[in-house]
C-alpha cells in the first residue's frame, strides 16, 4: 500500500443529493399544528387565562371538585376528633388505604418530573407542550399524597417531630428507618418540583402581565413575574437556572419512589421483601404518571381546543412510554411468580397462592387485566393514535396502579407467617371519603391552575416554530 501512490480518497464519496423515496406514512407528524406564528401561539394560550368570560363548564367542574374538598375537610375533622380508629386499619393490617393512596398519588407525580427534567436533558422536543401541565400535576399529586402520612401519624400536630432538630426532649427520629428517609425524599421532591415549575413560569407570567388589561390582574401577574423584562441577561440566567434544576430533578425521579419501595422491601413479610422493588416501583410510578397525564390532557385538549399544541404525536409518544413502562411492570409481576416458585420457600409460595386464590383474588385478577393486558393495545398504531382508546387504556392503568398497591400492601399484610395472626382488611366509609376527597383536592387545584396560569409554556412553544429553529440550529449541535 505504501509503494504505489494512493489515489483513492480517504472517505467514500457519495452524491450530496440523494433521491428520497418516502411514502406519505413515513412523513413526520409535527409537534405543532400548521399555520402558527409567534403571535397566534401567544394569543391562543394566554387568551384561555385572560379572557373575561369564563366558560360555564369550568364552573361546573370546579364545583364538583370543590365538593370533594368539602368531603375531605369533613373527613379530616372527624379524624382529628376521633383518631385513626375510624379507618379500617387494625391488627394485622396496620397500613391500609392511607398508605395505598399515598403511594398512588406520589407515583402519579413522577411523570411530571420525568417529562420536565429527563426529557429536557435528552432533548426530546415533544415534551414542550405537556411539561407545564405535567409539572402542575406533579405538585398537586404530591400535595394530595402528603396528606396521608401526615394524618396517619394520628397526632398531626406533632408531625414536625419527623424532622431532625435539636430539642430539649433529646428526641431524634429513627434514622435507620426508610419512613424517615421518606420525609427527606418527599419534602425535597416537593420543594424542587415547586421551584422548577415556578422558574419555568416566570417568562410566561411576564407575558400575561404585559397582555392583561385590568390593572389588578396586571399587578398580580407582575408581582409573580419578579420584574422579568426578557433581556438577554435574563434569558441567560434563566437558561442556567432551568438546566441546573433539571439536573437536580433527575435523581429525584429515581430516589423518591426507590425510598417508597424501601418502606416495604426492608421488611421481611413475603410480598414485601423483594430486592427488585426499587426499579419496579420507579417504573410503576412513571407508568401511573403517564396514564394520569393522558387522562387529563385528552379532555383538556378538547375543551380548550389545544389540538394544535398537544398533537397526536404527543399522545402517541405518551402511549409508547405507557407501553414501555407497562412492560417493566409486567416483568416484575411475572418475576414475582418465578422467584416465588424458584425460592422453594413455603411462605413465598403461599403469598402467591393467596394472591391468586385468596380473599383478594378478584383484585389480583383485575390488576393483571388493568396493568398487564390493557396497555398491550399500545403496540398498535391504530390504538396509539386514537384519543378514545388512549383514554380508555389510561383509565385502566389508573385503576390498575391503585389495585397494585392494594395487592402489595394489605393483601401481603393480612396473612403473614402465623395463621393465628391472620385477619382481613376493608376500607371504611372514612377511608373512601378521604380518597375521594383527595381526588377532589387534586382536581380543584387543577381547575384553578388552568384558569389562572398558562397551561402550556408559551415561550417554549414559540421555539418549536420553524422560524425560531433556523436560528437555534447552529447552537444545538
Amino acid at each position: 500500500m505504501a509503494t504505489t501512490k494512493d489515489t483513492t480518497p480517504v472517505h467514500e464519496v457519495r452524491p450530496v443529493t440523494q433521491e428520497l423515496r418516502i411514502p406519505a406514512r413515513y412523513l413526520p407528524t409535527p409537534t405543532i399544528g400548521p399555520g402558527h406564528s409567534f403571535a397566534t401561539i401567544t394569543d391562543h394560550i394566554s387568551t384561555i387565562v385572560l379572557r373575561r368570560k369564563t366558560p360555564i363548564g369550568w364552573f361546573i367542574g370546579l364545583l364538583i371538585a370543590m365538593g370533594g374538598v368539602g368531603l375531605l375537610s369533613i373527613s379530616i375533622t372527624w379524624l382529628l376528633v376521633k383518631g385513626i380508629g375510624i379507618w379500617g386499619i387494625n391488627h394485622p393490617v396496620g397500613w391500609g388505604m392511607d398508605i395505598i393512596n399515598f403511594v398512588w398519588w406520589i407515583g402519579i407525580g413522577h411523570a411530571g418530573t420525568l417529562i420536565s427534567a429527563i426529557l429536557l436533558l435528552l432533548r426530546q422536543e415533544w415534551r414542550t407542550s405537556i411539561n407545564r401541565f405535567a409539572e402542575a400535576m406533579t405538585l398537586f399529586a404530591v400535595a394530595s399524597a402528603g396528606l396521608y402520612p401526615a394524618l396517619h401519624t394520628g397526632r398531626p400536630w406533632f408531625d414536625y417531630w419527623l424532622f431532625p432538630y435539636p430539642n430539649t426532649m433529646g428526641l431524634w427520629p429513627q434514622f435507620r428507618s426508610p419512613l424517615m428517609w421518606d420525609v427527606f425524599a418527599v419534602s425535597t421532591y416537593a420543594t424542587v418540583s415547586a421551584l422548577f415549575w415556578y422558574v419555568g413560569l416566570i417568562p410566561d407570567l411576564a407575558t400575561l402581565r404585559d397582555r392583561a388589561t385590568n390593572i389588578w390582574v396586571k399587578r398580580a401577574y407582575g408581582a409573580f413575574a419578579l420584574g422579568w423584562r426578557g433581556s438577554a441577561k435574563h434569558w441567560l440566567r434563566y437558561e442556567h437556572a432551568y438546566l441546573l434544576l433539571a439536573g437536580l430533578s433527575t435523581p429525584l425521579v429515581l430516589s423518591v419512589h426507590t425510598i417508597v419501595s424501601f418502606d416495604f422491601a426492608v421488611a421481611q413479610i413475603p410480598g414485601w421483601h423483594a430486592t427488585f422493588f426499587p426499579p419496579y416501583f420507579v417504573a410503576g410510578a412513571v407508568f401511573a404518571g403517564f396514564a394520569m397525564v393522558l387522562t387529563l390532557a385528552i379532555p383538556a385538549r378538547k375543551f380548550f381546543r389545544l389540538e394544535d399544541f398537544i398533537t397526536m404525536k404527543h399522545l402517541e409518544n405518551m402511549g409508547k412510554v405507557l407501553l414501555a413502562t407497562g412492560l417493566i411492570v409486567v416483568y416484575a409481576y411475572a418475576m414475582e411468580w418465578f422467584y416465588g416458585l424458584y425460592s422453594g420457600n413455603a411462605f413465598e409460595g403461599y403469598m402467591l397462592k393467596n394472591r391468586a386464590t385468596g380473599p383478594y383474588a378478584k383484585m389480583y385478577v383485575a390488576l393483571w387485566v388493568c396493568n398487564g393486558l390493557a396497555p398491550q393495545l399500545m403496540w398498535f398504531k391504530r390504538f396509539r393514535t386514537s384519543t378514545f382508546w388512549l383514554f380508555v387504556v389510561a383509565m385502566f392503568v389508573n385503576v390498575g396502579m391503585w389495585l397494585e398497591r392494594f395487592v402489595i400492601i394489605p393483601a401481603s399484610l393480612h396473612r403473614d407467617f402465623l395463621p393465628s395472626s391472620w385477619g382481613m382488611y376493608h376500607g371504611t366509609f372514612w377511608d373512601w371519603s378521604m380518597f375521594i376527597g383527595s381526588i377532589g383536592l387534586f382536581f380543584s387545584l387543577l381547575f384553578l391552575f388552568v384558569r389562572f396560569l398558562p397551561m402550556i409554556s408559551i415561550f417554549e412553544m414559540r421555539t418549536l416554530l420553524p422560524e425560531a429553529q433556523a436560528h437555534s440550529h447552529e447552537e444545538a449541535h
Binding site: 483513492t8 480518497p9 480517504v10 472517505h11 467514500e12 457519495r14 440523494q18 428520497l20 423515496r21 418516502i22 411514502p23 406514512r25 413515513y26 412523513l27 413526520p28 407528524t29 429515581l254 426507590t258 424501601f262 422491601a265 426492608v266 421488611a267 421481611q268 421483601h273 423483594a274 430486592t275 427488585f276 422493588f277 426499587p278 426499579p279 404525536k313 402517541e316 409518544n317 409508547k320 412492560l327 416483568y331 418475576m335 414475582e336 422467584y339 416458585l341 424458584y342 425460592s343 422453594g344 420457600n345
Partner: protein, 394 residues
Amino acid sequence: MTTTQATGIVRAQVPALIVGILGFIAAIIGWVMNPAEFYRAYLPSYLFWFEIVAGSLAILMLQYVTGGEWGVLIRRPLGAAARTMIVMAVLFIPIAIGLPHIYVWANPEIVANDHLLHLKQPYLNPTFFLLRAAIYFAIWILWAWRIRVLSLRFYEDRAPETEISRRKWSAAGLLMIVLTLTFASIDWVMSLEPKWYSSMFGISFTIGCALSAFAYVTFLLTQLSKTKAMSGILKPSHLRDLGNLMLAFVMLWAYTAFSQFLLIWYGNLKEEVPYYLKRQHGTWGVMAAALVIFHFFLPFFLLLMRTIKDRPNTIAIVTVCILAMRYIEIYWLVGPAHYPESFYFSWMSIAVLIGIAGIWFWFFVQQLKGQTIIPIHETWVEEAIREGRLSTNA
C-alpha cells in the same frame, strides 16, 4: 476508503489467534492436571467475554430503536461483536461438560440428601439447564443474524421500510434480551448458590452486560481514532456521548447493586444474608471494597468531567478500569460459591481469559472485515430523520 483494513485492526488478527491458542493449550494442560479447578476457573472468564457479546447485541438493538447519533460510529463493531454469539455458543461446551464440577445441584447424590435442592430439581437439573442454554443461544443468534440481514438489505434498497422493519425487530429484541439475560444469569451465575435468590439479580446482570459492551466498543474506538480510516471522523462530541452513556450505566449498576445489598443486609434473613457474609470477609471483602471504589466512585467522578470524556487517551483509561472491574465483579459473584472459606484464584482463569480473548478477537475481526468501519450508507437517513424530513415512529 473507510474500510476496516484501513484501520489496521486486521494486523492484530493473526497474533491474537496465536495468543488465544497458546492460552487454550495452557488451559488444557490445567484441565489434565485438575479438571474440577479448570471448570471452575473457566466459568468467570467465559462470562467476562460473554457479557461483551450479549451487551453488544442489546446496545445495537437499543441504537436501532432510539436512533441517536451516539451509536453511528459504534454500530459496526457492535454488530460484529453480536454476531460472534455463535463462537460463544461453541465456547459454552466446557461449561456443559463440567456441570457437576461447577454447580452443586448437578450432583444427584447431593440433591437426593438436600430437601430444598430436591424441591428445586424441576428447574435446576442438567437436562433442562442445557435445553434452556440452547434456547437462549438460538434466540440470540437468530436476532443477531436477522438484524444483519436487514442491514444488508438496507444497504441495497435504502428504503425506509427496511429501516422500519429493523427497528421493529430491535424493539421486540430488547424485550427478548432482557428476559433471556435474566434467565441466563439465574441459570449460569445465581444457581451457583442454589439456595440463594434475589429478584434484582437478572436486572443487575443485564446492566453489567450493557456496561461491558459500552466500555469495550468505546475502548476500540479510541484505539482506532488515530488511524487513517477514522481520522477526522471521530469528534470529541462522539466520545462525550459514549462517556455519558457509560456514566448512566455505571450509575444504574451501582443503583441495582446497592439496592440489592441494602435490602438483604436490612432484612438479615438466614436464607439471604450468608451470600454477602461470604463475600465480605478476607480477600473477597477487599474485592467488594474495590468494586465500590473502582466500579462506581472512580468512573463516576471521571466520567463527570468533559476533559476526560472528550479525549481518546483519557476515556480509554476509564474503559479499561470498567472492564477490569467487570471481571472482578464476575469473579466475586462466582468464586466464593466454590471457595467460600478463603480467596482462591487459579492461574487457569487467566489462561482461559487469554485463550477466549484471542480466539474471540479473531472471529470479531473476521466479522468486522470487508465493510466500512462506519455505516456510511445509513448516514443520509440519519440526517433526514434529524432534520425532520423523515419520521422515526412510523
